[in-house]
């Protein structure tokens, strides 16, 4: 059965919900939101802590409240939602194949598509920890799901590897639920998560954070019995003789997130080796005309407000595309990472809108810095640059009129 839609949004987390809402508000009432789980909301449902929407709504929501607000806004629009629906294929001609118990196998021809599939967690396999393979090893997000949705405590004596935000949040959560968190171990010399999470999730509960340390062996036959942690040198190699055994029955991994782009690849979307997500312009359009992307499928953001911001852009621009079709003389210029910049998003500028840049520093600089964007030669001052806190700068379209050369973004000492 072939259906038709103006805009099809894939994924109903914060990016997808926002994109669907804004597609509808910008002239695409025939918008379809497709979600593979049984409920809308994506990862927000299990993020029961507060801190969501401070910038966007000036309110301090928990994840479920934030989701419910967006969903109730969405229910007031004409947007149609398919839940329990798994998208299995997207073509570059924007034909989507999806499977669901309710609708069977469906094909949808979309005028434009918004990719909002989010990201997934890196696992033990991605970082290759030696040792046995007992029960009791979880990624932080899986543990979060078990505790907050399934009401199940995954362990009593916990070690957390990696200081990403989900790991920090889970250190507090498990402590409140009565588990003992022996410590958080971070291979880098600086924490991965936001500073405020170090304070309110670790310091508040006297949970130690050990920097420049990693787990070098997992022990235990049936169940985890302990881990060996080692100090690492500047090249991140374990230092001989620094090994220490930490008793635990559970190891949580908070060792990074990877944008989930299997579908993007099928659609022929060009991916960035830096972000792991689609290369997009400031309108969030990918290299395939009419296919847009937003949120953590594009690049892993620190806070939901940034995710939603890209959702607003992708949804509105996808609606415009569905109405007016492609821009004929679109010749975007590249945006490239310069001095002390690990990645910059978006990666292209198509002269269609103001340019909002999200920038991740390569190395921490704990002093005032200048973010230089050239052309046009804008210099923006920030009090510091840290790899764990994305910098956001906005360059007005008027300053970029007629830009032909690649735009270089650098973080320099002030």
């Amino acid at each position: 059965m072939l259906r038709e839609a103006d805009v099809v949004v894939i994924g109903s987390g914060p990016a997808g919900l926002t994109a669907a809402l804004h597609a509808c508000r910008n002239g695409a009432p025939n918008t379809l939101l497709v979600e593979r789980e049984e409920e809308l909301g994506g990862i927000l449902k299990q993020c029961i802590h507060n801190g969501f929407g401070l910038e966007q709504f000036n309110r301090d929501y928990t994840g479920p409240e934030y989701a419910e607000r967006l969903i109730s806004d969405l229910r007031k629009t004409a947007v149609q939602c398919f839940v329990n629906t798994l998208v299995t294929d997207i073509t570059s001609q924007r034909i989507i194949t999806a499977l669901s118990p309710e609708h069977g196998a469906v094909q949808i021809k979309a005028k434009s598509i918004v990719l909002a599939m989010g990201c997934r967690e890196r696992t033990r396999g991605s970082i290759g920890i030696p040792g046995t393979r007992p029960a009791g090893i979880f990624t932080a997000g899986v543990a979060q799901r078990l505790v907050n949705i399934d009401g199940y405590l995954p362990g009593r004596q916990v070690v957390i590897l990696g200081s990403g935000d989900i790991g920090l949040i889970m250190a507090r959560r498990l402590t409140l639920e009565g588990a003992r968190v022996a410590g958080v171990y971070e291979i880098m010399s600086y924490p991965g998560g936001l500073k405020r999470n170090i304070v309110q999730c670790l310091n508040d509960f006297d949970i130690p954070l050990h920097l420049s340390r990693t787990v070098t062996e997992i022990r235990g036959r049936e169940r985890v019995e302990g881990v060996v942690v080692s100090r690492v040198d500047d090249a991140l190699r374990p230092v001989d003789g620094s090994q220490e055994v930490v008793q635990c029955d559970t190891l949580l991994l908070s060792v990074g997130l990877i944008p989930e782009n299997e579908l993007s690849r099928k659609a022929g979307v060009e991916l960035s080796p830096d972000t792991g997500g689609p290369i997009t312009t400031e309108t969030m359009e990918t290299s395939v005309p009419g296919v847009f992307a937003c949120g953590n499928v594009s690049t892993v953001f620190d806070i939901v407000d940034y995710v939603a911001e890209t959702g607003v852009t992708a949804g509105s621009c996808a609606a415009l595309y569905a109405g007016a079709g492609p821009h004929r003389d679109r010749r975007p210029v590249d945006i490239v990472a310069g001095e002390n910049v690990r990645l910059v998003f978006p990666q292209r500028y198509a002269s269609e809108d103001d340019l909002t840049l999200f920038i991740r520093a390569a190395e921490p600089m704990e002093r005032p810095v200048i973010v230089e964007v050239a052309p046009p030669g804008s210099k923006i001052t920030r009090p510091y640059a840290r790899p764990n806190e994305m910098l956001k700068v906005k360059i007005p379209r008027s300053k970029l009129a007629g830009v032909r050369k690649p735009i270089k973004v650098s973080i320099k000492e002030k």
Binding site: K45, I48, H49, N50, G51, L54, E55, D60, T62, P64, E65, A67, E68, V147, N148, I149, D150, G151, R173, L176, E177, L194, K195, R196, I198, V199, Q200, D204, D302, I303, D305, E389
Partner: protein
């Protein structure tokens, strides 16, 4: 009164301003590093009694999931977290529950209500 220098990280918003504060145990004598007034209020409160929003879950019967997420509707003293959680362990809700429904009123005489943070229909 003797003064002390202490480093604070504001947790009011994700910016997380870092501040060097000189105080006498009760009042701020000087502070630098904050970008807005909220941080000053935060530090003043930290000196008296650290206050936080508590988020956790409560058991529920008759719903799709066995637990429903909850929060305190205002900040409560952090030292009372364990006591509030213990009180909430004794509660089992019956579906349906609507977002913002009061799960426990005036917990441990803090003046804060514990409220549901999502709607859970009866299944």
């Amino acid at each position: 009164m003797p003064t002390e220098k202490r480093h604070f990280v504001c947790v009011v918003c994700p910016i997380g301003c870092e501040m060097d504060v000189v105080h006498d145990g009760v009042e701020i004598i000087s502070m630098e590093g904050n970008r807005c007034d909220k941080s000053e209020e935060f530090v003043r409160q930290e000196l008296i009694e650290p206050m936080r929003i508590l988020t956790t879950t409560v058991r529920i019967r008759g719903a799709r999931w066995p637990v429903v997420p909850v929060r305190t509707d205002r900040s409560v003293p952090r030292r009372l977290f364990t006591g509030i959680i213990r009180q909430l362990r004794g509660i089992t809700l019956q579906a349906p529950v609507k977002m913002l429904d009061v799960v426990a009123g005036d917990v441990l005489a803090t003046g804060a209500n514990v409220i549901a943070t999502r709607t859970m229909p009866r299944e």
